[in-house]
């Protein structure tokens, strides 16, 4: 066991609405959506038309540049609708699910005896290849590359994040198979980061074929990008891949059984959640089927820092295993900023008195709590960024679109999610994640 990586910088946002550790229902969806918008760096091409029959694991889309990368249906059923947006952009393919599920059989295999090429083919065919995220830039992995190493963070520290050990507790053999299979794709090994607090009982700490690290500290200690920067920072020219533990289990399952089974426990969380607990469902399930949604509530796929707005008529994303429900904060508080005490509003700044009640959990909403301004206080960014970079310099380089400076200040090491807390703490209310994403998009465009 290597040394524990303890991170001091960061912030755990104290929000109400953590999911209780029980599964309240298993959702059998009527219709499931496959959304190409979930995958960054890929351009979808449609392989089916409305009315086609598909099995769970049948290809629905492929990537335009690399047609080997397939996107497969999570259910068996009939293609019901192809949803397009502006300029005929493909937004989603809806599949009406059968009552009885049938699976494409990829053939069960022994993970230890697979070759790299066999693993690659299996992942490409089963539609699990897009679960490999390539850094730098956070785009889908290029099948022609052999990465320096593969990183898996076995836990999340994001606000109200699902407990991975509860979600995947009964899938230890799938995870083990997934790690062994992924290990074939790299020479640098699979790095697995485990939460130090639960190391003793976590199934992840006992995995073979992985280099195990323990990590402790406040959010974003669970972010794989932060862990990479402390284990082996990404420099210019390096490529590493990351996989979420959820999809490692899915990869292991397809190796062991030959079936694509994306069913997962999904945490219904947030202050506006009616019953915060877990449900079992597939990615692509309509949000309205997952839980009861009230008026004036924002439905977010993922956590409150990095999640995307799905809406009450949306569908859960490919990578999501959390739904956060949050009231829209359109109410205007009279003299809010001038009140000595504001017990309902959390602030990590000592200009308020939230530090008096460190255990309190807040009923948060989406109010911005101020207006956008130029950067003034910038030390707050460093306090929540446990990566060895200068956040404000990177942010300004991204704003200026200066490639050379972006490289110098560490654009290869971060994804927007790693600086998500900067969004939260900034008194000038800038959208830091959007700035970083724009910078990354510029890098992809210029370096291509």
């Amino acid at each position: 066991m290597s040394n524990n990586i303890h991170l001091k910088k960061g912030l755990d946002i104290p929000m109400k609405g953590a999911a209780a550790q029980r599964v309240v229902k298993t959702v059998v969806p009527d219709t499931v959506a496959l959304k190409p918008t979930d995958f960054k760096g890929l351009v979808p091409r449609l392989l089916v038309k409305e009315g086609d029959r598909v099995l769970a694991g049948s290809p629905i889309l492929c990537d335009k540049q690399n047609p080997d990368i397939l996107f497969t249906s999570p259910v068996s059923g009939t293609v019901a609708e192809v949803v397009r947006g502006d300029k005929r952009k493909l937004l989603a393919v809806l599949v009406k699910a059968d009552a009885e599920q049938e699976y494409v059989d990829f053939g069960p295999k022994d993970p230890a005896s697979l070759s790299a090429e066999e693993v690659r083919q299996l992942l490409l065919k089963s539609g699990l290849w897009p679960s490999l995220i390539q850094r730098p830039y956070g785009v889908a992995a290029n099948p022609e590359l052999r990465p320096k190493s593969i990183f898996i963070s076995s836990f999340s520290t994001a606000p109200l994040a699902p407990d991975t050990d509860f979600v995947l507790g009964d899938k230890a053999s799938d995870i083990q198979a997934g790690i062994l299979a992924l290990g074939k794709l790299t020479d640098g090994g699979v790095h697995l980061c485990v939460n130090q607090a639960v190391e003793a009982k976590s199934p992840f700490a006992k995995m073979d074929g992985a280099i195990i690290h323990t990590v402790s500290g406040p959010h974003p200690a669970g972010n794989v990008g932060v862990q990479i920067s402390h284990i082996a920072p990404i420099m210019k020219g390096d490529t590493v891949w990351t996989v979420s533990p959820l999809l490692v289990a899915a990869i292991g399952h397809v190796v062991l059984t030959g079936k694509l089974d994306l069913r997962r426990r999904i945490a219904i969380t947030g202050p506006a959640a009616v019953e915060p607990a877990y449900v079992e469902a597939l990615p692509g399930t309509p949000t309205a089927q997952l839980t009861q949604i009230e008026e004036g509530v924002r439905v977010i796929g993922g956590d409150v820092l990095t999640g995307t707005i799905l809406g009450p008529e949306g569908y859960l994303g490919f990578f999501d295993n959390q739904l956060t429900l949050l009231k829209e904060g359109t109410e205007r508080e009279v003299l809010g900023w001038a009140k000595p005490f504001r017990p309902k509003v959390h602030s990590s700044s000592w200009c308020y008195f939230s530090w008096l009640t460190p255990k309190k959990q807040y009923d948060m909403d989406t109010n911005l709590h101020g207006g956008p301004r130029a950067f003034v206080e910038t030390k707050c960014f460093e306090d929540v960024t446990p990566i060895d970079i200068f956040p404000i310099y990177l942010i300004k380089a991204c704003l200026a679109g200066d490639i050379e400076k972006m490289e110098k200040f560490g654009i290869y090491e971060v994804l927007p999610e790693d600086l998500a807390l900067c969004d939260y703490v900034d008194p000038s209310k800038n959208d830091i994640q959007a700035i970083i994403q724009d910078g990354i998009d510029l890098m992809i465009k210029e370096m291509a």
């Binding site: 920072p233 829209e328 003034v376």
Partner: protein, 378 residues
């Protein structure tokens, strides 16, 4: 005021559109905006710039209140009048209040017009600058001069750069520098620091010189007029808010506690001032022990409230140590070796404001090259 912000009138195309930034400023002053997050994190911290700025204003209040009392006290001492505490305080209040009115009216009017022209929201930065400016000028400064200085500082110190957060120099100090170089006779010498009413002639022994000016004549001359504790309490002539060490330390405590200002800059500035003060004492440039440099003139006020301005100071943590140290060291250097200027704090801070980006550049470059080396060898 907030209720007037009905759709139409102040919106684009409305009759009073030219007032929309002003209305918006008052509206958001009274009620937190109802804006919700669009891109990025869906929840946000309760902190905003209004809160940050009001914290600095609160930290300045002890110095301002003491300054008002001291204005009355100095007049009473100079004229031999036997006034009580409240009489001194209200006398000072009446002298200082016009400075505040001019500072805020001129400064905010320009800020509002600027925001309107640019179509932006009004910045909160002037809440602090407007409160600072009356505290760093002599009480007798003519109001029209103050108005011109404020206008200069806001327009050329801030608006041309793009507003709060973009400026290179501390706007309040820029106002003072403008006064100092444009109207030196109203900003230096022995006749400007204490208000002497026309109908109350000064007593014979009154000189009106600040301790810094007297200190040039040596320790004996200083001790003849003021004890160390006088300097510490702040019952001395000087700019309105700069005299009392106690009041400034209360403000420093608030700023450090809330994290609004950097304690690193404060500590390193004091260290720099003490070191040069000690060297000067050792080398015979002054008879005063180094600690006197801290309690005289604007050193401490500048260290706590002006050098720590997060916009114009160094941004890197290591850079803050260097920046602060140089501010303190330079200020005392000017005091000891430049007979032309009795006070060096203003120029030291403005000079270091200019060099802060360079300091940061060096710190960041050094760190990045050190890191690249480490990663390559690892």
């Amino acid at each position: 005021m907030a209720d007037q912000n009905k759709p139409g009138l102040f919106e684009k195309g409305g009759k009073l559109y030219w007032l929309h930034s002003t209305i918006d400023a008052f509206d958001t002053f009274l009620r937190v905006p109802g804006t919700v997050t669009a891109r990025g994190a869906h929840v946000r911290d309760g902190i905003d710039l209004k809160r940050v700025m009001i914290m600095v204003v609160i930290a300045l209040v002890p110095a301002a209140l003491f300054g008002m009392y001291n204005v009355g006290y100095q007049t009473a001492v100079a004229t031999g009048a036997s006034w009580g505490f409240w009489k001194m305080f209200f006398y000072g209040l009446l002298k200082v209040l016009p400075l505040y009115i001019v500072s805020y009216i001129v400064g905010l009017a320009i800020e509002f017009a600027d925001a309107q022209i640019k179509g932006e929201e009004v910045n909160e930065g002037y809440l602090v600058s407007g409160f600072l400016i009356p505290l760093i000028v002599p009480v007798d400064v003519p109001l029209w001069m103050l108005a011109i200085a404020v206008a200069f500082a806001v327009i050329f110190g801030k608006c041309v750069f793009g507003g709060t957060g973009m400026n290179i120099w501390n706007p309040a100090l820029l106002a003072r520098a403008f006064l100092f170089f444009s109207y030196p006779s109203s900003m230096s010498g022995s006749d400007v620091w204490v208000h002497i009413p026309k109908d109350m002639p000064a007593v014979d022994s009154f000189t009106g010189a600040t301790p810094l000016a007297i200190a040039h004549d040596g320790m004996g001359a200083l001790n003849a007029q003021y004890s160390f504790m006088d300097l510490f309490y702040g019952l001395i002539p000087g700019s309105v808010g700069e005299t009392s060490v106690i009041a400034i330390l209360i403000g420093a405590l608030i700023l450090v506690w809330t994290g609004v200002a950097s304690w690193k800059i404060m500590i390193s500035s004091i260290a720099g001032g003490l070191l040069v003060g000690w060297l000067g004492h050792l080398g015979g440039a002054t008879e005063l022990p180094a600690v006197y440099q801290l309690v005289m003139g604007g050193f401490l006020f500048g260290t706590v409230f002006m050098a720590t301005d997060p916009v114009t100071s160094a941004q890197t943590e290591c850079g803050k140590w260097i920046y602060g140290f140089l501010v303190g060291a330079l200020a005392v250097t000017v005091r000891l070796w430049n007979p032309g200027y009795a006070e060096g704090m203003m120029l030291a801070i403005l000079l270091m404001n200019t060099f802060a980006p360079l300091i940061d550049h060096c710190v960041v470059s050094a760190k990045i090259s050190a890191r690249n080396k480490k990663v390559r060898t690892a």
